[in-house]
């Protein structure tokens, strides 16, 4: 696992975000084992207490569960992937909408821009391989 | 106490180069005097005296230098940080250096004597013939050795105290150290005279019995009035304890 930190924000939140991202994109699946706190701390070179805090928060949120003597796992079922995806989606879109509003765009123009960008990017994607 | 031996060992290992080189120099000097440049007009026995006297005069000076050096290198190489960080009493540090110096002194003395014995075999034997017996010579030699160790220890105590006090002041460390050396010498001397009445009950030490001088010549009487010396030696012991205390509680590293 690699995390590029923005040290201007709390690090434990960024660790949690990284796990959320991996769950949402399917890199981590329900039931998967995640690294022990000590191992993760050593890999990403972050204070073990900070990693512990991230894990504790994720447990409280029901994202992961720690089984005594076995390790920490992504929680099974109950649509955890869906939930995390939705959470991330909502956050991303919220940020986007706020940014558009700040630029003075309304719903209609925003959607228009989005559509245009989608088709523009699709064209480049199609052109690229050649 | 388990930490004492490693300290002594460290000091011995640290000084093995100078000791090795000096041993080689002593033996080399003796070989030169014996075979290459024999003093003109001197008998073999007189040549032996020349060959032995230089190392034996030089040795005490060397030991004073080494007792100073043993502390100075710790500061110069910043290893005093390590020493002052260790959870050990200060007296262990300075007494381990004292024991290290004992060993170094004994080795160099041994090299000089064994070297003389090997290089001047015949002359030594004829010299010994003057003495009552080999056993007498060995016994007295050992007693003199013990006595010289005591004198060496006293010198080391003075040098260590002077060095440690020098390190406790910010500036003029050398000057302070030299003054401490003189002052502490004067102090223990005064202390000897001051405490003399306390020890007057002590009988004088019969040196002629201790060294069995009657075997050399009948009727020699040599006695040592130990009363004034006892106070001095107590003073030296006190200075030793003081040095250990200062090392542990007052010495700082340079910032």
């Amino acid at each position: 696992m690699r995390i590029d930190f923005h040290p201007s924000q709390p690090i434990y939140l960024q660790i949690m975000d990284e796990f959320r991202r991996q769950i949402a994109t399917g890199l981590l699946k329900p039931g998967d084992k995640i690294p022990s706190q000590r191992d993760l701390a050593a890999t990403i070179k972050v204070n073990a207490n900070t990693v512990q805090r991230a894990y504790r928060e994720m447990e409280t949120l029901g994202l992961v569960e720690t089984l005594r003597g076995q390790g920490t796992f992504i929680c099974q079922g109950r649509g955890i992937v869906e939930e995390t995806r939705n959470d991330m989606l909502t956050n991303l879109v919220d940020d986007f909408v706020r940014a558009m509003q700040a630029l003075g765009l309304n719903e209609e123009t925003t959607l228009d821009v989005v559509k245009k960008r989608f088709s523009a990017m699709q064209t480049t994607e199609e052109v690229k391989p050649k | 106490m388990a930490s004492f031996f490693p300290l002594v060992r460290k000091d011995l290992e640290a000084s093995r180069w100078p000791v090795g080189i000096l041993s080689a120099l002593i033996v080399g000097y003796m070989l030169l005097i014996r075979f290459r440049f024999p003093p003109i007009g001197l008998s073999e026995t007189e040549s032996l005296a020349v060959a032995l006297s230089l190392p034996l005069i030089f040795l005490p000076l060397w030991m004073i230098w080494q007792s100073f050096q043993a502390l100075r290198t710790e500061w110069r190489e910043d290893t005093v940080y390590t020493l002052l960080t260790l959870p050990i009493p200060g007296w262990q540090v300075i007494s381990s250096k004292l024991v290290g110096l004992w060993v170094e002194y004994s080795l160099l003395l041994g090299v000089s004597l064994v070297g003389a014995l090997v290089i001047y075999g015949d002359a030594v034997q004829s010299g010994l013939r003057v003495l009552p017996s080999l056993a007498w010579a060995v016994r007295n030699g050992f007693l003199l050795y013990l006595f010289s160790l005591a004198v060496l220890s006293a010198m080391v105590v003075f040098v260590q105290l002077a060095y440690v006090i020098g390190k406790m002041v910010g500036r003029l460390q050398g000057l302070v150290a030299i003054w401490t050396l003189f002052l502490s010498g004067w102090l223990v001397d005064r202390l000897g005279l001051l405490l003399e009445p306390l020890f007057r009950w002590m009988p004088p030490l019969p040196l002629h019995k201790l060294f069995r001088l009657d075997e050399l010549k009948q009727g020699i009487v040599a006695e040592w009035n130990v009363a004034p010396a006892l106070g001095t030696w107590l003073g030296i012991l006190a200075l030793f304890i003081l040095t250990g205390y200062l090392f542990e509680h007052y010495v700082e590293v340079n910032d």
């Binding site: 690090i11 050593a42 073990a48 | 031996f5 460290k10 290992e13 960080t85 009493p89 910010g170 007052y250």
Partner: protein
Amino acid sequence: MNGTSPALMLRNVKKSYPRAEALKGIELALPKGEIWGLLGPNGSGKSTLLKCIVGLVKPDAGEIEIDGNPRSRCTKGQIAFVPEMDTLYRWMTVGQTLAFTSAFYQDWDQRRVAGLLEFMGLDAGQKIRSLSKGMRARLKLVLALARKAPLLLLDEPFSGIDPASRERIVEGIVREFKSDEQTMVISTHAVGDTEQLFDAVVFLDEGTISLQGYAEDLRREYGKSINDLFKEVFA
């Protein structure tokens, strides 16, 4: 061990030198199990403060308590101090250095030594004299981490060494620090990418504490990294 007392307590610690006042009344209490960063530019008093805690420097005033006990010969046995300078005996080998140090500390854990040496890329037969500055810095850390010392004090462990050694040292600290039984103070004048190590930081400015707090709280409060905050405070 006293469960309730802080790992380290400083009350009004002062130290003056003929040239300058190095520490002007430091007050600090470090809870157990945390890594604290002691941050400040060169000459701000960081090193003097750490030396006062070990006993290499005697404060003029104030009290220092280690796990509730006033500083003494005994507390030296509870502290693992990693000085900035080269304080190892140069004629020794790595193995001799380890053997020498182990003789003085009851908390020395010989079982950890081999693993630590391997992790740091050190060999017991190497002469200290022949090691690079970075390798010597690694060895100094091994000497501290091979013990189960309740209090570790690291004075500028990252300064002036090669990036590879720096990385090893950072990883070694994270990997070996036992937050259930140890507390650590790391002084540095260049925060850089090491800020992720710290639970909390103290900014030391000309002998006084100008800012202190938990790293995550400070990031949230100021919206800045500790590194940026450091640059701002000491600009």
